[in-house]
């Protein structure tokens, strides 16, 4: 097949499955919400509370009303300017980690290593802006110099960490699922050790760097939150950029084919090995940027125990069907779940770990399109739609 044939085949596959993907994603989400509701309702009978909302003879008192839990979650993520800021802050970070996972997925590569790439990128950014911040004037020009530099450094270090599994996949045939998981642990260990023993704030017991100077902080935009609209706009532009790269350019096309059909890509005259490395590097760079934004917008320092944004990114990307534009609503959804989880904990005493359970459930349901197809068939929907790989791939 010529390159053009491949391209049209791929495009057709992507287009054909787009509608189905959206249906699967939305249904999976609904199923996860229903299962989550059942979990909350049942656990309410185990928990203790002063005024239960329901009594079942035999089962006792139920503490949690699932509808109230979800309503509180929604209210807690959009109910006030502060909440909105919190939600958008999470959304911005998830956009970057989601795109990081999606970029690899588009090439048929499974990057579970975004977390590690983000952690090392965040550390590099923190160290660079700490030192650079002392040298520049404390005004807007200083900020314009320091923050972009910090982000670039974060991207380089994250990209480097993503390049390693790329190289191992392309030239040693080591499976990227295994290597990226391993590299997460290595990244966490190295960063922790570096900060604890060498580059951290040695005056405190906690494993953290010093706080970055004001000049290196993204300006907060809404209410009392640290959300910066600059970062969100940047993330949206990157999403659109990635989308255009993969749909409108030859490079993007080559990247897509290389991981999917290495031999076919080679046959069509594409250097598949190099493209696998490029995809993973690009993916890692986006993870590194997520770390840079985390440091300059949220934590204002590197601190051990960086939240699992990289793993949330996997959920975001899978929910989005690995479509860079789809990542935007998916990131918003997970962003609001995250900020809403604080509210259910404070207001209702429902453990905010519920959101992590929901995240897992959403991933689980999306992994099984066959289940929905069978349910759909049972109720007489659809005429046996073509099979779609749940893992993102245009593999099917």
């Amino acid at each position: 097949m010529s390159r053009a044939d491949w391209r049209s085949t791929l495009d057709r596959l992507v287009d054909a499955s787009a509608a189905e993907r959206i249906i699967i994603s939305v249904t999976s989400l609904l199923f996860a919400i229903v299962v989550g509701a059942v979990l909350v309702f049942v656990s309410g009978f185990v928990a203790d509370c002063p005024d239960p909302f329901i009594y079942f003879p035999g089962a006792g008192y139920g503490c949690y009303n699932p509808l109230e839990v979800y309503w509180t979650m929604l209210d807690g993520s959009f109910g006030s300017w502060n909440d909105l800021g919190q939600t958008l802050q999470e959304t911005t970070l998830l956009l970057f980690t989601g795109l990081s996972v999606a970029v690899a997925f588009r090439a048929g590569l499974f990057n579970i290593g975004t977390q590690g790439q983000m952690i090392l990128g965040a550390l590099a950014t923190a160290l660079v802006v700490l030192h650079l911040g002392e040298l520049v004037p404390d005004n807007v020009f200083g900020t314009l110099l320091v923050i972009p530099t910090g982000i670039v450094v974060g991207a380089i270090v994250g990209g480097f960490w993503g390049m390693i599994p790329g190289l191992m996949k392309a030239y040693a045939d080591a499976h990227e699922v295994i290597t990226t998981i391993m590299l997460n642990f290595v990244a966490i260990g190295i960063a922790f050790w570096l900060v604890q023993v060498h580059v951290g704030d040695l005056t405190t017991d906690s494993v953290q760097t010093e706080s970055i100077p004001a000049v290196a902080r993204l300006p907060p935009t809404i209410g009392g939150s640290r959300f910066s609209v600059v970062a969100l706009v940047g993330a949206l532009l990157v999403a659109v950029g990635v989308y255009l790269l993969y749909t409108r350019t030859v490079i993007g096309y080559d990247l897509r084919t290389s991981g999917l059909q290495e031999s076919a890509a080679e046959y069509a005259g594409v250097d598949a090995k190099r493209n696998i490395v490029t995809s993973m590097t690009l993916s890692g760079a986006l993870g590194g940027i997520a770390g840079a934004i985390y440091v300059t917008m949220v934590q204002y320092r590197w601190q051990a125990g960086i939240p699992p944004l990289g793993f949330d990114g996997i959920a975001v990307s899978i929910l989005a069907g690995n479509n860079p534009i789809g990542v935007i609503p998916a990131a918003l959804l997970f962003g609001s779940l995250k900020s809403g989880s604080l509210a259910i904990n404070l207001t209702l005493g429902v453990p905010n770990e519920l959101v992590e359970v929901l995240r897992g459930l959403i991933i689980l349901f999306i992994a099984m399109p066959e289940f929905f197809r069978m349910v759909g068939k049972h109720f007489g929907f659809g005429s046996d739609p073509t099979a779609v790989a749940a893992d993102g791939g245009d593999r099917s």
């Binding site: 656990s43 185990v46 928990a47 203790d48 499974f110 579970i112 191992m168 040693a172 045939d173 080591a174 499976h175 699922v177 295994i178 290597t179 998981i181 391993m182 590299l183 642990f185 290595v186 966490i188 260990g189 190295i190 922790f192 050790w193 604890q196 023993v197 125990g305 793993f311 996997i314 959920a315 899978i318 453990p351 770990e353 519920l354 959101v355 992590e356 359970v357 929901l358 995240r359 897992g360 459930l361 991933i363 689980l364 999306i366 992994a367 099984m368 066959e370 289940f371 069978m374 790989a389 749940a390 893992d391």
Partner: protein, 353 residues
């Protein structure tokens, strides 16, 4: 496509070389390597070995469970999640049992933990086999659900992410052997350690010398011919995944019933042991004995690091020791080439009937 002996020894030699190199590098980080070497050899004693065995339990059980699932053709990267369910299930059962006539019995708690972990593994199997889910994504989901659910349930039950202390397994001594001079203390251990020592040869025998082991091998390598021979590939795969649930249940319960507490904060008390189990069977090349040896090596390093900090006052960074297994796997995967996965692993099998 069996790995030849030379390939095996090359792989394991490289892994051991990488680990020794890592240790050497660590020695340089601390202070004069010679001093360290002296202290390391001083630390090796029967009590050290006993604690290394204890630390091996969750890793080796997870590893052997992973082997069974993957050999049948289902890659189970949810091992970590299954260990978490096992650990939480054991402590929650102990806690709940105190209010029953049975009382807090560690053996019953172990059984309940195994039941919980097996139940989750069964769900995973259904999702992968019946609904043809992507095994990697579903495995990831198992891990993430367990990682969220265990602390969630801890808070519901105990109002905090860490459980209160419950009873533990009491140590058992093997009559006769335990009174041997010198090595006697090796024969005084908690039941999970003995279970592990029984499970390794059992698993090896099951895989290599029984018909069931042949089915497992065929299900992962060549499901088509297994099907032709009249064996239901689906059932074999269910068996493999369920075995991984049973093993992880024992491993997780063994871990938790050792300290008598479930720690749900951070990465939970399982703290990556499931992932180390995965690395262990990759280094052990899908052989239960190899997986056990790799697990023992990693657990031994962990125990060494703990002891060095206590005895010699070294500030050996536990995080650096902790990354050795992962680096070892990266080295093996890169320089020894691809892990020889069962050729049908990760693929769905559809019978033609």
């Amino acid at each position: 496509m069996r790995a030849t002996v030379s390939e095996l020894s090359r792989r394991q030699g490289l892994a051991i070389g990488a680990i020794l190199f890592g240790l050497l590098a660590l020695g340089l980080f601390v202070d004069g390597g010679r001093q360290l070497l002296g202290d390391v050899t001083g630390v090796i004693s029967t009590s050290y070995l006993a604690s290394a065995f204890r630390l091996t339990v969750p890793i080796a059980f997870a590893a052997m469970g992973g082997i069974f699932a993957e050999k049948t053709g289902v890659i189970n990267i949810g091992l970590e999640g299954l260990l978490i369910i096992g650990a939480f299930g054991a402590i929650a059962s102990m806690y709940a049992l105190t209010a029953t006539p049975i009382g807090a019995n560690a053996w019953v708690a172990l059984l309940l933990a195994v039941a919980a972990s097996t139940f989750v593994a069964l769900l995973f199997a259904i999702v992968c086999i019946e609904f043809k889910a992507d095994q990697i994504i579903a495995g990831l989901a198992v891990w993430l659900i367990a990682l969220g659910f265990a602390p969630f349930a801890s808070i519901i039950i105990w109002n905090r992410t860490n459980s209160p202390s419950v009873g533990t397994f009491s140590t058992v001594s093997i009559p006769g052997l335990s009174s041997l001079p010198g090595i006697g203390s090796l024969f005084v251990a908690t039941p999970p350690v003995f279970l592990l020592i029984l499970a390794v040869p059992f698993s090896w025998y099951l895989l290599n010398h029984t018909t069931f082991g042949m089915w497992i091998e065929a299900s992962g390598e060549d499901p088509k011919s297994l099907d032709t021979a009249g064996i239901d590939v689906r059932k074999v795969r269910y068996a493999g995944v369920i075995l991984s649930g049973i093993y992880c249940g024992i491993g997780g319960a063994g871990l938790a019933l050792n300290t008598g507490q479930f720690v749900g904060s951070g990465d939970t008390m399982v703290d990556g042991r499931g992932w180390i189990g995965l690395t262990a069977y990759l280094i052990g090349n899908y052989n239960p004995v190899g997986a056990f040896l790799a697990s023992f090596l990693f657990a031994g390093l962990d125990a060494l690091q703990l002891q060095l900090q206590q005895i010699a006052g070294y500030s050996v960074s536990s995080t650096l020791v902790g990354i050795i297994p992962y680096v070892a796997v990266l080295v093996v995967l890169t320089f020894v080439g691809r892990t020889r996965m069962p050729s049908a692993a990760g693929e769905h099998y559809e019978s033609d009937e």
